[in-house]
Symmetry: C2
Subunit: 517 residues, 2 copies
Amino acid sequence: MADKAQIQEAIKAQGEVVRRLKAEKASKDQIDEEVAKLLQLKAQLGGEDGKHVFVLKTAKGTRDYNPKQMAIREKVFNTIIGCFKRHGAETIDTPVFELKETLTGKYGEDSKLIYDLKDQGGELLSLRYDLTVPFARYLAMNKITNIKRYHIAKVYRRDNPAMTRGRYREFYQCDFDIAGQYDPMIPDAECLKIVYEILSELDLGDFRIKVNDRRILDGMFAMCGVPDEKFRTICSTVDKLDKASWEDVKNEMVKEKGLSEGVADQIGEYVSMQGGMDLAERLLQDPKLSQSKQACAGLADMKQLFSYLQLFQVTDKVLFDLSLARGLDYYTGVIYEAVLSQMIQAPVVAKQNGALPGDEASVSVGSVAGGGRYDGLVGMFDPKGKKVPCVGVSIGIERIFSIMEQKAELLAEKVRTTETQVLVASAQKNLLEERLKLTTELWNAGIKAEVLYKKNPKLLTQLQHCEETGIPLVAILGEQELKDGVVKLRKVASREEVDVPREELVEELKRRTSKLP
Amino acid sequence: MADKAQIQEAIKAQGEVVRRLKAEKASKDQIDEEVAKLLQLKAQLGGEDGKHVFVLKTAKGTRDYNPKQMAIREKVFNTIIGCFKRHGAETIDTPVFELKETLTGKYGEDSKLIYDLKDQGGELLSLRYDLTVPFARYLAMNKITNIKRYHIAKVYRRDNPAMTRGRYREFYQCDFDIAGQYDPMIPDAECLKIVYEILSELDLGDFRIKVNDRRILDGMFAMCGVPDEKFRTICSTVDKLDKASWEDVKNEMVKEKGLSEGVADQIGEYVSMQGGMDLAERLLQDPKLSQSKQACAGLADMKQLFSYLQLFQVTDKVLFDLSLARGLDYYTGVIYEAVLSQMIQAPVVAKQNGALPGDEASVSVGSVAGGGRYDGLVGMFDPKGKKVPCVGVSIGIERIFSIMEQKAELLAEKVRTTETQVLVASAQKNLLEERLKLTTELWNAGIKAEVLYKKNPKLLTQLQHCEETGIPLVAILGEQELKDGVVKLRKVASREEVDVPREELVEELKRRTSKLP
């Protein structure tokens, strides 16, 4: 550790940085970050008693999960993994960091949000930004040409966190992808079926899945007169339509990205269109769009997609929406995004994070799933450029967690964080050994059992532990029970008690707990 | 991206670095790292056709898990989590990175192995090195004074990887810890019970759990004449006894750490001792040790521990071993480590990684679990130094994976990577729509079903897919079946076929698949 004089020097310098930013009226966010650094430095000097004082927090934009949050998370994961497995998916895992150059050039304007590791000698590494690029690297590296896989893992983005809305710098992605050369639109339709099944099963209220196609967007841009090299950046601008008004989006197109007003207005007409298979059919006759080969290919596939979606019984929630653009560079065909219809009240989360309830806290959670086709990404990695067509979907699990947590809080649901079936207890002193012996018998028989780590706990303390943690049964030992070769089995909820012969206890517990929810 | 001239400049400089290291006869490892950097730079220049050529690899010391490895991993995790839940544990999660200073000063000589994140503005962050320090930070931050929790997550160490032996730079830890003020040695004994249960259930062959106590070691060091300030560093040296001979260890004590030969020899006598409760009793009478208060407290607790281990029925595998020291700084009481008895042959893994089979590949995997009591760590984080006593164990899951993978390979076990119960197939053309319709019925009823993404697949292709991936049943549709309102259900293994009425298919599948393993 640096010596005191060095630290004091650093504190002085950092104090300057903060003062300068405040004078320059820099963003609150920027100032906060530099203040945090200053506090860390001050903490190194230690408290008055010379003890080192730690800044007790998690890194900005990240959070711990407590046991209750983990119980909810486990439930959500089980539903999602259950769906992926029902559709015959395998799973893989990749490292949390990749060679930096593996990620370079894949995320368009968002590449600046990638976390890099410090160069401590050796390779230059970055934390993964999503699971899709590592998946493509995995396929190219192992020369895999077809696979249906899911991958659930954390990804990292140096974004501006909005934690009340479930936006973090470290967050889970739940990805399902199908790689391989298949007949058109069948895997694409299955991805949408999966989104439909998961959102229905999680019971998050009504939702819509918007679909579009990059080829339709590109054809539309071309026919409206957008220069080729501006397709991707205009795409990013269109993508803001879910949060911004058309006026703002048009403004960005004209003032920042240099389109003429006439071109922007033509785009404006198209991106207001929504419909189903009928819209695809109508646009195939559109005088402008029908002149673009790309657009026609996209529209024909859109029709095909809707016909499969009918067979999959999901068209009631799917909407062909020309304003859907998606931010990422690598999409080449169908794209989609699921949004919840309800507005979410977020007082609970806001309170937890010490924020004031207000505008920010009660907004729509927005997109909860998104994806699309990316036929070129694997080829970027392959030395010979060999392509592997891919389509996939990513479930926005953090937003779903936020909603589930709020629901549990609003309904004052009691969430159990352990699965313990029985507490081994005693009403008298000096029975620790007997309690441990019985607990051992239960563990060895596969029963989920607990025992308090005290020599002589009071019975009341033991019963309270059951009520607090939701343990349904207590096995009580006393001198008399030991003499009679029985155990007093008590139901915590009803206080019913019955003596069970010791040698039948395991069977009786198995019988009773198999009926528990 | 940098321009061509800049890259060529960098390549020249890096080439110099490599040449210099080779001339200096630097370690192979160091040279390899710099060569890797050089190759990355060269790759940026692109191939002959101007296409950017990627280095297709994972970061040094890390690996992808393919579906087969994931299937094995899932099985191992289920066993371990099952055990943790049987003992009433909750689970938490913490971010993959912490404020750098949270980790500083916790790991003794190993702190140099911590991965830092690049300073991109904002906080200084490091990847977690273990799950114990983040756990202590979590307890102090949330003022939690008792909890029994498990945490399964990846940790990061810039160590020299030995991947054939299951040693990686990114690897899983499976931690179980009990925090709280309880009667002595009960939670400690439960940790050992858990190690015993997990290693037995995973069926990894015979094993031993060595136990010792930091207080016994410190008392022993004091009585042998080691100066106080050398306790921790001598502890690190003693810890090498599982891999190095006494001569080497003594050499390090005398030549590197400055002990006199007489002191080292006295230590040598003690660290050769092994036994059970009897050894603890004998050492309580030892003329030297019995003069150390610390040692006596440790020995009395060791006796108590063994008495609980008897009740837990695990003493057959537990060994009180005075040479056990454990590397980490934060232990304050009981420490333990589990080792497998068998030597592991690792030809398969060695082959996979392109290494030659040889000495390195066929060595013992060594320790597969370890832990101990750390009563001071939470207090380091608490502003007022308030202590929360903790004891815990970490399962060395990567080594266990390596063994399970080798076992599966040696036994030529067929590992299924999906759970699909039935493939929906057809023997005739133009039945894609009918196949999709039936698959939808099955998915909606919760049956795990697949369908090939082809308009007109051959029946043989469909049956081969079942055999390759282990799908046990095929539901075959044809013109005749559709007319008769039936589905032909075929068992892949026996080729038995039977017509099932369409409306009874779901029930029939549920009946059949509930009997599957």
